[in-house]
Amino acid sequence: MKGKLAKKNERTAYIFCIPWYIGFLAFTIVPIVYMLYFSLTDRKLNGLSEFIGFKNYQNIFSSSVFWNSLRVTLFYTLVSVVVTAIWALFLALLLNKKQKLQGAFQFFYFIPSVIPSVALAYSFRTIFGKDSGLLNGILSNFAGKSVSVNWLYNPQTVYFAVFAVTLFTYSTGQMMMIFRNGLNVVPKELYESAELDGANAVSKFFHVTLPMISPIFLFNIITSVIGALNGSFALLFPLASENGDPNGMTQVLSLLIYKESFSNMRVGYASALSFILFVVAALIGIIIFALSKKFVYYEN
């Protein structure tokens, strides 16, 4: 009798999962198979295609544009994750200091993250503009002479500018909220006992807060890595064009995929690039999980 009920329940469970089976098959497995297959062809945008074996991969691995793009992708992902995570934690710590106007501050800190990335990118193209940019205007006022730094086109400043923009993305706002919540759950007694041991604010942060929020940190890092890999296109395409100006310094793989498939119409080649991006994302995922076992503190 019980066995029958359990079986029935099991069947219900499978029924509830139907949307997932279909979705996983149709929108994950099939595209992966397609990706693998078309990466072995010279398919063009107009649909003509011919099997060419591993030629795309050969071309990719001998292309300096690709290696540059891979380097930029890893660099962009790593730095933007670190920079935004630290900034989000900083914002959360500020907000968690209970003072007047809590709600207003949270509004100002969070609201940039709901700006569409395309609007954000264009506003920063002009904020960081050379001749009529806001930042140069402000700096000129302070300096008392005209400052005209070409923020987004100068190799010395372009990364500073790009990572400054990532502070305003959705990923940052989301992390800030998660940190806020995480900070609230840290037991007060821990701080009190640390104070008894004579800890100052800095050592309290490093010895109590940070270990206690490390699982949340991990969660944030994971979502932010995905955010960086995924969101890089929506931010950098309007910011730096498909060529990753200047000089390919911001040409992450997603931009290269777009450029190869739509400007050069080489869909097969772009499929091979996609597969490489897929592998890169998987490797990053594995590394994070491996590292997390070592550094993250779990309560039980």
Binding site: K130, D131, S146, K259
Partner: protein, 433 residues
């Protein structure tokens, strides 16, 4: 208790319904979409038989003029009784999106205005239909097209497109600034060396060394190629279909780099602005259609001349071809609209609006392209002169290759690599395709 159950029941019903809708969402969506598509098809075909009152969708890359008198599509509507819906896809994505539409057999658009680099591909893959059968009984005479157009469409095995105009690249200059600097106005044979020295003299710097007025604006995506061409590089080899640049490109890129370094030209930057229009650049190399854009709107006297001459005269011709989508359901209506747009009246409205001459020689000779609102222009010969020296160059290459090359040139202009490295990288990338 009963109430709660009622509530719960209704919720579950609703949820269940939603789910069934969800599961079939796929079919439903497609079904309804297909239905509407069919309906419009029927409607269109119905319209077709009645000869007029039809509707035609046309794809182009620039916005129709806001002045209704200069809007050739409105004029075409009036003349043919066929409604013309214009879809604008910006220049930067135009070729790519059009290729996608053709590749996926899009039937929503009837007329594509196709670029030089795409027409062969579209004709070969059957994306656009040949127009010879229409041309037989038509007033459009392709014998009168300018030679360059005839050359370009040779080897297609038929007529697949009709040139909508023939635009050229010219130099615009601010006469007020030339007067101030005491420099003689350039003519249509202005030596490139004089351009360089004028750029230096026209530049005005503030006390702290920053530039207030640039001698010349930076070349844009298009005129980089004119600068390379005048130094003797072939740019595009029709025989091999490849990018051909070398010493000429190196020379021009290094000149630009030098001018940028000296502050005679602005750096490539993220907040691109039209420095010529705001009076902050004394010279600019731009397409002839800017005559129509500027019209009488500029606060200073301005004039045009041909692109300066170095080793030779060179500029890139620009056109687009009216073509009919092979998948279109309204091909006859589409032809009627094209026929009007190619007529004397249609061509003249386009010329008056844009400043681009017609590609049909007898119509171009009427000179309607001498935009009326541009009152300060006297040297209209610049355009006809440029037409003679113009060739279909970089526009015959895929935009990925040329866009990449310009990005390389700009890197060199910023001093991030040498001109030689930039040219080599541009060639390497083109070859890897």
């Amino acid at each position: 208790m009963k109430k709660i159950w009622k509530k719960i029941l209704s919720f579950s019903l609703a949820a269940g319904l939603l789910f069934s809708a969800a599961a079939c969402g796929n079919n439903d969506e497609k079904g309804s979409d297909g239905d509407t598509a069919k309906k419009t098809e029927e409607k269109e075909q119905g319209d077709n038989s009645s000869a007029s009152g039809g509707e035609v969708n046309l794809t182009v890359w620039n916005e129709p003029p806001q002045d209704d008198d200069l809007n050739m599509y409105l004029a075409a509507e009036k003349a043919t009784g066929i409604k013309v819906n214009v879809t604008v896809i910006p220049e930067t994505e135009y070729s790519s999106k059009l290729n996608q539409m053709v590749a996926t057999g899009d039937s929503s658009q009837d007329i594509f205005i196709v670029w030089e680099n795409d027409i062969k591909n579209f004709a070969d893959t059957g994306g656009i239909r040949e127009l010879d059968s229409y041309l037989e009984n038509s007033s459009v005479d392709k014998e009168h097209f300018i030679d360059a157009v005839a050359e370009l469409t040779e080897g297609l095995g038929g007529t697949y497109g009709l040139p909508w105009c023939a635009a050229v690249e010219i130099m615009y200059y601010n006469q007020d600034l030339f007067d101030e600097a005491g420099i003689e106005y350039p003519d249509n044979n202005w030596p490139y060396e004089e351009f360089l020295s004028a750029a230096e003299k026209l530049t005005k710097k503030a006390d702290d060394g920053s530039t207030e007025i640039y001698g010349s604006d930076l070349p844009n995506l298009q005129t980089w190629w004119a600068g390379i061409g005048i130094h003797g590089d072939q740019v595009y080899d029709p025989a091999s279909g490849e990018l051909v640049i070398g010493e000429g490109a190196e020379k021009y890129v290094s000149d630009v780099r030098n001018m940028v370094e000296q502050g005679y030209m602005p750096e490539p930057s993220s907040d691109t602005a039209d420095l010529f229009a705001t009076g902050k650049a004394a010279m600019a190399w731009l397409g002839s259609w800017n005559i129509g854009v500027y019209g009488g709107d500029l606060d200073f006297d301005w004039e045009i001349c041909t692109i300066p001459t170095a080793d030779r005269k060179y500029n890139t011709l620009h056109t687009g071809f009216y073509t009919i989508n092979d998948k279109s359901k309204n091909q006859d209506d589409a032809w009627k609209v094209i026929e009007y747009l190619m007529s004397e009246e249609g061509q003249n409205i386009n010329s008056a609006a844009s400043g681009n001459p017609s590609a049909i020689i007898p119509i171009a000779e009427q000179g309607v392209w001498k935009v009326e609102s541009a009152k300060t222009i006297e040297n209209w010969e610049a355009v006809t002169d440029a037409l003679e020296s113009g060739v279909f160059g970089y526009t015959s290459l895929p935009s990925g290759i040329t866009g990449n090359a310009v990005s390389e040139f700009e890197s060199a202009a910023l001093g991030m690599k040498t001109p030689e490295e930039a040219v080599e990288a541009a060639l390497d990338y083109a070859k890897s395709q």
